[in-house]
């Protein structure tokens, strides 16, 4: 991404000489202006206001008090907030890392084997992306329930000792929520990988096979390097999804048991609407935005450097 042709490479001469106005230094900005106005009104302005709110103590109505950076200072000392950030980082493993590995393998298998009804498999794996997360959460809450499907299956295969309320045990709750994320993101990652792999010329694989490469060698020597761009995109998308998770946590555990599954987005909601601490909620939101930004810049940088 972003490494395409630069504007200077467009052979403008063939289309006739541009007028003096068109060549003016401000012209490009004029073209961007309409989009920028919309972007500014609906993204930058609210972001700026949130940043501003984070410097105040405000209930969401009535008078506000300017408190400088003290909302941020409070956050640094807030164990609940640190736990929320820690949980979000754990969720990255479930939302991004696991789906990437599984998605890569699945895509490689689907590409290589001439599977009958491939479209069907693709649709099934992609399905979780299509279902509203509210529905996903309600369904999985049933599955994880003490008398739910998961425990029934465990009982049937003789693993009855493992059955318990998965979302009610601090040891398993975060992983249980995370696994829902894995299930949701897997389809997206697989589809991205498949589209990347479909661009690889078949001759490359033929050549590799003639040289005696097996499936594993083929995967590491040809497939993986070819889909590096897609991997970066997949990681960016899934890491953002992991860090801003709100609905799954809100609907499955409300941050419990205890505080073991609370995440920053949930903290934003809780502080703004339950505690009526809009300043503190805004500070959490700004920190979260910065965190997402930094992590994704990092991922993109690494992706670009390696390609």
């Amino acid at each position: 991404m972003g490494s395409g042709t630069s504007p200077g490479a467009v052979p403008g001469a063939r289309r006739g000489r541009p007028s003096a106005v068109a060549r003016g230094p401000l012209t490009p900005y004029l073209f961007i202006l309409p989009a920028f106005l919309v972007y500014g009104a609906f993204a930058l302005y609210p972001l700026g206001r949130a940043a501003q709110f984070s410097l105040f103590e405000w209930k969401g109505f009535g008078a506000s008090t300017f408190v400088g950076l003290s909302n941020y200072v409070d956050l640094a000392a807030d164990a609940d907030f640190r736990a929320a950030i820690g949980n979000a980082l754990v969720l990255i493993v479930f939302y991004a890392v696991v789906p990437l590995v599984v998605g890569l393998v699945l895509a490689a298998i689907l590409r290589r084997g001439q599977v009958r009804g491939m479209g069907f498999f693709r649709s099934v794996i992609f399905l979780p992306q299509v279902i509203a997360l509210v529905v996903v959460a309600v369904a999985w809450r049933q599955i994880y329930s003490p008398s739910g499907l998961l425990n029934e299956l465990l009982g049937m295969v003789g693993l009855g000792a493992l059955t318990h309320g998965w979302l009610g045990d601090p040891g398993t709750a975060l992983a249980a929520v995370g696994f829902i994320g894995t299930w949701v993101e897997m389809g997206l990652v697989m589809l991205l990988m498949l589209s990347g792999m479909s661009r690889i010329p078949a001759e490359l694989f033929e050549a590799a096979r003639l040289d005696g490469a097996g499936a594993v060698r083929e995967f590491f020597a040809i497939t993986l390097p070819a889909v590096r761009g897609e991997i970066t995109v997949a990681l960016v998308l899934t890491i953002i999804a992991a860090l801003k998770t709100f609905d799954l946590v809100y609907l499955t555990t409300s941050g419990g048991p205890g505080n073991s599954t609370t995440v920053p987005s949930y903290e934003v909601y809780f502080r703004a609407f339950d505690l009526r601490e809009v300043g503190s909620a805004s500070a959490v939101a700004i920190v979260l935005t910065a965190l997402i930004f930094v992590i994704n810049v990092g991922v993109t940088r690494i992706g670009e450097r390696e390609s």
Partner: protein, 452 residues
């Protein structure tokens, strides 16, 4: 380079915009006017001329909606010059808009405001609600409502003391937590409904020995445990102390011996499996249907579950108030429906007060009962002849007239719902003990009471 400059300019512009914008909120209060004294209250609504009364409520569920629609119809018949413009939305939606609605320029005349500290308490402190004392005297609300019910809507004018002071709202319906049981199940186990807490504890043991789940609890959502712990606490702690704790007023202590005893008992219930194998993993809305299917011996919870469970269990379902508590009198968690308040900036305060008077009148109580709700007054006389609602009405009446209706513990501080929810989950899950739980609850409570 160009791209860099553009990005830089964008950021700079955004930053400038933020700095230039004015501070959030406004410094002007809600335009709080002094509330009228009893002799200044205008009760001749017909003389006010044609007016539109804007009412925001959250009575959207079946029975509640039917009752309020019927009441609005009769009110407009009585006062043809008043047109009611009703805006009904869910509790959550209304709760989150209340702050904005009260502080805006175009406020409703009547608004349902949650009586918790984080809501009504905050609005009172900011002068956004009308003190109803004058109206209450004129219309005789103190005769109509029991003191224990009215106290749930009283705050000091600075919002610091909850339960005493001026009246800021009036509720139509009642809520009470008690014990649901299946008569057939008790008969089958050779047990009888407990008359004392000792009997209840031995019933729990007997049910466990019989291989049953003694108490059905689905606590995945964190708050349901409060409806079990509240009644249990009344066995160990005197009602006045619980009220002080529950209303977030200074002067009590969660780490006291009696509170520790209550928390210890609750933790033991969790550890011994009296609440089931994994109460924290079971959702509230999955638990009560399981109870209707014969799982569990007792279900301790709010009366609102009655009608839905009765639809499955019929006459077999019974409800009782918990046995008498530490004071020798029955005391249990409960409260009122969401109170109707008048915003300080309401344009038609007189008509608004008449409306609130009308929908909480004795006739209105009958209409609420007819539509299947639980009226906050005249509960015993309006009780149906049979069914679980008969038990519920009688229990509510007994608690409000002879005993004490304890506040929901999460009224206490703006963050107490979260603190208590998480703490009780950890207590019954074994991640903390009674002392640890008491310390966590005390920390939230004392931080709030000292700060206020």
């Amino acid at each position: 380079m160009l791209r860099r400059n553009f990005l830089g300019a964008t950021v700079a512009l955004g930053g400038l915009g933020a700095l230039a914008a004015c501070a959030p909120g406004s410094d002007t209060g809600g335009g709080a006017e002094t509330a009228p004294a009893a002799d200044e209250v205008e009760t001749d609504i017909a003389s006010l001329g044609d007016l539109t009364l804007v009412v925001w409520d959250q009575e959207v569920r079946g029975a509640q909606n039917d009752a309020i629609e019927a009441l609005i119809g009769s009110f407009q018949e009585k006062f043809p010059n008043v047109t009611i413009d009703r805006n009904a939305q869910s509790f959550d939606d209304l709760q989150q808009q209340t702050g904005l609605a009260l502080s805006g320029n175009d406020v409703p005349d009547v608004l349902q405001v949650n009586n918790a500290r984080g809501d009504m308490g905050t609005f009172v402190a900011d002068g956004l609600l009308t003190d109803l004392t004058g109206y209450a005297e004129t219309y005789g609300w103190a005769d109509r409502f029991s003191p224990s019910v009215l106290s749930k809507m009283r705050y000091s004018s600075d919002g610091v003391t909850f339960g005493e002071g001026s009246l800021y709202g009036l509720a139509q319906t009642g809520e009470v937590c008690g014990i649901f049981y299946s008569q057939a199940k008790l008969d089958q186990l050779g047990l009888t409904p407990p008359a004392t807490w000792e009997e209840l504890f031995s019933l729990v043991d007997a049910a466990a020995e019989a291989g049953e789940r003694p108490i059905m609890l689905g606590n995945l959502d964190q708050w349901p445990a409060l409806h079990v712990f509240g009644p249990l606490q009344a066995n160990f702690v005197d009602a006045q102390t619980i009220i002080t704790l529950g209303m977030g007023n200074a002067g009590a202590d969660w780490t006291s011996e009696d509170n520790l005893a209550a928390l210890t008992q609750f933790g033991e219930w969790g550890a011994s499996g009296a609440l089931g194998e994994s109460p924290n993993g079971l959702a509230y809305d999955d638990a009560w249907p399981m109870f209707t299917e014969g799982e569990g011996v007792l279900l301790i919870g709010g009366n609102w579950l009655g009608p839905d469970m009765e639809a499955v269990m019929g006459e077999d379902l019974h409800f009782m108030a918990p046995p008498p508590g530490a004071d020798g009198k029955v005391a249990t968690t409960g409260g009122t429906g969401i109170p109707f308040s008048i915003p300080a900036a309401a344009k038609n305060a007189a008509a608004a007060a008449a409306y609130i008077d009308f929908i909480t009148s004795d006739d209105a109580m009958a209409m609420i009962a007819e539509n299947g709700g639980m009226p906050v007054n005249r509960t015993a006389e309006l009780a149906p002849e049979s069914g679980v609602n008969k038990d519920i009405y009688e229990a509510f009446d007994a608690v409000t007239t002879e005993g004490t209706l304890l506040p929901y513990l999460d009224y206490a501080t703006p963050s107490f719902a979260e603190t208590a929810g998480a703490t009780l989950q950890e207590l019954i899950g074994g991640q903390t003990d009674a002392a640890g739980a008491a310390a966590a609850l005390q920390e939230d409570y004392s931080a709030f009471t000292e700060g206020s």
